[in-house]
Symmetry: C2
């Protein structure tokens, strides 16, 4: 795992942490407001926890933090908040990691693909509109009506690939 301490000048490629977290949180709040979503304290705090994190967090990691701050201590507390965020486009579920990550562009609807680094565990959100179109075409070809899709790639992020070159 690369050094993710605040002191390290380097951070995850495209990481949504410290630097952009405030901006993304503001976007998410704006979106929640206009969509009439109730971004309650647990939900909001859960989103902040994801934004503060490097890489994706498992539900139980989120729960630990929530519990430490006086919210509920049991799994459903974390799962409910996380599912709310995912269902409303404010976070994404990374199936390969059994984990969750804040959406990097909550301002607008989008199809996302995730680039997961095997070396440093960073997760980069990429736009996947092109891929989703291709997938839609493949689905059409067999009469499948596509509702939503998961696209996840595993490999090495730029920093880790260079470090090993």
């Amino acid at each position: 795992m690369t050094d993710h301490s605040p002191e390290a000048g380097f951070c995850c490629p495209d990481h949504s942490g410290t630097s952009q977290a405030q901006a993304i949180l503001a976007q998410a709040e704006a979106r929640a407001r206009e969509a009439g979503l109730r971004l309650t304290p647990v939900r909001r705090r859960t989103l902040e926890i994801l934004l503060e994190a490097h890489g994706a967090l498992g539900a139980y990691e989120v729960l630990e933090r929530l519990a430490a701050e006086g919210y509920g201590t049991q799994p459903p507390v974390a799962y409910r908040a996380l599912n709310f965020l995912v269902e409303n486009g404010l976070a994404h579920r990374i199936r390969r990691l059994n984990a969750f990550t804040a959406c990097a562009q909550p301002a607008h609807e989008h199809r996302a693909a995730f680039l997961i680094c095997e070396s440093c565990d960073s997760v980069t959100e990429a736009r996947a509109d092109g891929m989703t179109r291709a997938l839609g075409a493949a689905a059409d070809a067999v009469g499948f009506v596509l509702a939503r899709s998961t696209i996840e790639a595993v490999g090495l992020c730029r920093a880790c690939a260079q470090g090993r070159a």
Copy 2:
């Protein structure tokens, strides 16, 4: 769930069951032979179980069947066989379902995408070379070195979509 009994004339779209299972098993065996893989009794039987199944099977479902036939009764027995098949391209893991399915084209290397029907749980394997190329391009753009990817779509198979129209 649609009727999947052998009596029903209808089967999953693209289903690898009864009709094609023998052919696919033969392909898989040929491939195992030429790759020097040891397709032992548990492994071979596990592959057959996946081929006989409609949709994907969870590891514990596979285990039940293996146990009933005199193989080991504990989870590692199923997981080891399944992981062997996946690592050697004879089966695929469907992450969204925490399940496994036999590869429909074990004869040749390929990138696969999976179309998962929400109504009947069928899983259709589609070639995903185009999507994988697009994903590779997106990865290149941010310096990510892609090793492998998971592409899964959820929606309605042709039969279920028509049944609801």
